[in-house]
Amino acid sequence: MTDLLTLIVAKYNYWLYVILMMIGLYAMIAKNNLIKKLVGMNIFQTAIILFYVSIGYKRDATIPIIQNAHGGNDTHAAVIHAVDYINPLPHVLMLTAIVVSVATFGVAMALAVRVYQRYQTLEEDELRMRLVDIGPEK
């Protein structure tokens, strides 16, 4: 029982991330409205970012900014313990991932506007009907 409890405490948030990802994925696949799909896409991406960030998390450690880096003398700078600082690498990766996701989001929004301009709707089923209406492909 305690094993299970420690397991839950140690892992529960990974499970919740998975749930979050799946909410996003479900919205991307099953939602009818294109904007909703985009929201799903963003949820999916942020959930992954969350996953990465939590890889980097370390108990009893502080943010990855070295204190007194330039403030003290040389002896001071020498005592940096890796255990005291959170792993900066996932943060770096996720900064990049966030930028990528916002870029994709922007482009997707622009496309959604274009689609709406052309078909006056963003619902997938209606779009499919419009596509049938405009006839065979050129």
Partner: protein, 81 residues
Amino acid sequence: MHWLIDLIVLTFVIFCAIAAISVKDLLGTAILFGAYSFMMCLLWAVMGAVDVAFTEASVGAGVSTVFFVAAVFRTSRRTKD
């Protein structure tokens, strides 16, 4: 203590996510999405990822939401699902 905050915020995040994809008003979705991003940003701050949190605060809760509202402004607000 950490994990308690973490759990509470995480629950909020999931709640916001579900709400954002199930509201029938797209402007509502935009706002809920902003809230979701902000919660997410809190979560990251809790985990010590200040830079990421900062970015998400400015991007996810800021610019993305603005883009979202702009897109909703140029398209329709209502949706069937």
